[in-house]
Symmetry: C2
Subunit: 349 residues, 2 copies
Amino acid sequence: MALGDKVRNNQVLLRHFVTGFPKDSDFELRESTIELSIPQGSGVPAVLVKNLYLSCDPYMRTRMAKSLQVKGYVDSFQPGSPISGYGVSRVIDSSFPKLKVGDYVWGFTGWEEYSLITEPEKLFKIDHTDVPLSYYTGLLGMPGMTAFAGFYEVATPKKGEKVFISAASGAVGQLVGQFAKLFGCYVVGSAGSKDKVDLLKNKFGFDEAFNYKEEPDLDAALKRCFPEGIDIYFENVGGKMLDAVLLNMNVHGRIPICGMISQYNLDKPEGVHNMAMTIFKRVKMEGFLVFDYYHLYQKFLETVLPQIKEGKIVYVEDFAEGLENGPAALVGLFSGRNVGKQVVIVSHE
Amino acid sequence: MALGDKVRNNQVLLRHFVTGFPKDSDFELRESTIELSIPQGSGVPAVLVKNLYLSCDPYMRTRMAKSLQVKGYVDSFQPGSPISGYGVSRVIDSSFPKLKVGDYVWGFTGWEEYSLITEPEKLFKIDHTDVPLSYYTGLLGMPGMTAFAGFYEVATPKKGEKVFISAASGAVGQLVGQFAKLFGCYVVGSAGSKDKVDLLKNKFGFDEAFNYKEEPDLDAALKRCFPEGIDIYFENVGGKMLDAVLLNMNVHGRIPICGMISQYNLDKPEGVHNMAMTIFKRVKMEGFLVFDYYHLYQKFLETVLPQIKEGKIVYVEDFAEGLENGPAALVGLFSGRNVGKQVVIVSHE
Ligand SMILES: NC(=O)c1ccc[n+]([C@@H]2O[C@H](COP(=O)([O-])OP(=O)(O)OC[C@H]3O[C@@H](n4cnc5c(N)ncnc54)[C@H](OP(=O)(O)O)[C@@H]3O)[C@@H](O)[C@H]2O)c1
Ligand SMILES: NC(=O)c1ccc[n+]([C@@H]2O[C@H](COP(=O)([O-])OP(=O)(O)OC[C@H]3O[C@@H](n4cnc5c(N)ncnc54)[C@H](OP(=O)(O)O)[C@@H]3O)[C@@H](O)[C@H]2O)c1
């Protein structure tokens, strides 16, 4: 294919706004076409990219809703238009001086084969291609940065502290656990299947792990794993787990609130009853967004790239092959279908 | 009365452990006697004090329960024994070198006319007696220190920020509001009666105030008072108010969690549903206890004493006259009977 050719451009559209749990059928695949060059005379610098890997991220649930809970956070998807999200792409045309044809980038792109990106300054150029490119949707992309910022900057860990992580085998959780182990913490994770628990203990080196779906009493499970209490809870799920954790926090404990995936599909979120524990135990809970920490991205790469090369950090990805399998992969996050970082492969090169 | 005399020593006892809302009748008055000198040969330094003012504080509810929610926080009262709490007292005998007869002190004492204090090192000697002594149960004592630490240390305010305070006319709240106004913030408080709302606006200089009992929709009340959102919520009550506040927090807002008085008498605390707002808004919630900040007490006095003398800080107290009226004053906290800091006068000198 040459620049200027008109080619097929399959796209994933949102069919309608979603309430409750999202379903595969809330999305549809549309076959359209695109001309492989940046339209003339648009005036603003742009890049045309070929999308290679798309990232399935829980926050995308927010964008499937008509009225966003929070203004200024992210925009809703538009029914009938291709959805968007993080991805890894190759530049095939550019009117943006900092990116040239052949460069690899990660950042916001469309769920389609080719995307015209009109805010190219928001993309991250990929300088290190001696690691799997898909890592830039996970380990070396937004979720990796989230784990890094949430653990080091928000949780302010001390060596020897006791760390609990929920949704621990996921894109973010598996990294938080490995960072915490490398830092010298005692680390326990929860996840939703026996296989995930095995991964936590045997692949990621967690000290303990449990399947929260098989624990009738989360408080008891936490007391079993943390006879001396929890210093840091890396919060990914919210709801009942948070309530149980609050009963087990140590004095001056910290709870970086990264996400609350168990609440995203509920019309009315569950109530958290044990908030008063934060007073007696002087606990700090802090919601954070990765967007506030991207200035640390270079530092993050300098820390993590060598750790990957030395085998100190490993990463598990779950690939869905083909854009047409993207919707199922995306909605699968909310039933725990994914084992590790969920990626959609649009094209292998 | 001379040292060594045997005198009447009325005491307030807990009759039995309390569940639900505490009642006057959960306490009883016992007439006993005491010898006005430190018993010989006890070995440890002690002081014998005459109690002047006793402080009614919401945390005392915790101590009326048999099983404390949290170990190591405070001890339960013992049924059949006099209860204890903060108070202002005069030393009438001392085997503790740092305190001498005639000194005034504040700190933990018994709900009785005279108390033998066997941990005198925990008392604060009162050096400034040119202010009402009762202030050392409130403005210049534990609640004052709580307001100071919670506002300046935990909330880390910035000039011009928008501050909301619940239970705003109480011992702690009225001070937080005045500190925040002096600091250059926009300040709104909620309280449970028209008179209290008037106090907030007309005596303490709050910008706005509302009676939460007359607001069918707390979210709407907050949106009315904070069209631009809340930067700091000084949390005294918990429950529904916290839920409504979470919907109105600004990005990077802070919630020092001082207390949750609306929850202390419930068997099962209410659920807080809007916790996920902390993520989108990057809100920090931090439970704190005044005990962790007493090292700032001298700095606090140096700040606040001049402000009192210059009339920049005022303080409203609510006096119950006589130990026998103590229980009603104490339980009155939980129905909002008190207007300002609730003090029990045991003796005028
Ligand atoms: N603050 C930020 O900037 C930021 C950035 C990225 C991600 N996040 C948040 O971080 C969290 C993890 O994201 P991720 O990308 O690492 O996703 P992920 O863990 O790879 O995938 C989501 C996982 O959540 C678990 N889950 C789904 N429903 C659940 C429920 N009802 N209760 C408990 N667990 C449930 C499932 O694992 P199980 O099989 O273990 O249930 C599922 O595999 C999410 O809450 C996300 O919103 C926040
Ligand atoms: N963290 C610490 O170290 C520390 C230290 C001191 C105090 N505190 C906490 O700070 C808060 C205020 O204490 P304070 O000494 O200043 O007490 P206070 O405000 O002088 O007295 C308690 C007031 O709380 C209000 N209240 C009672 N039940 C309520 C309910 N269900 N909902 C809403 N408001 C209710 C009442 O006022 P209304 O008429 O306005 O309802 C009552 O007058 C309490 O939660 C206390 O536990 C914490």
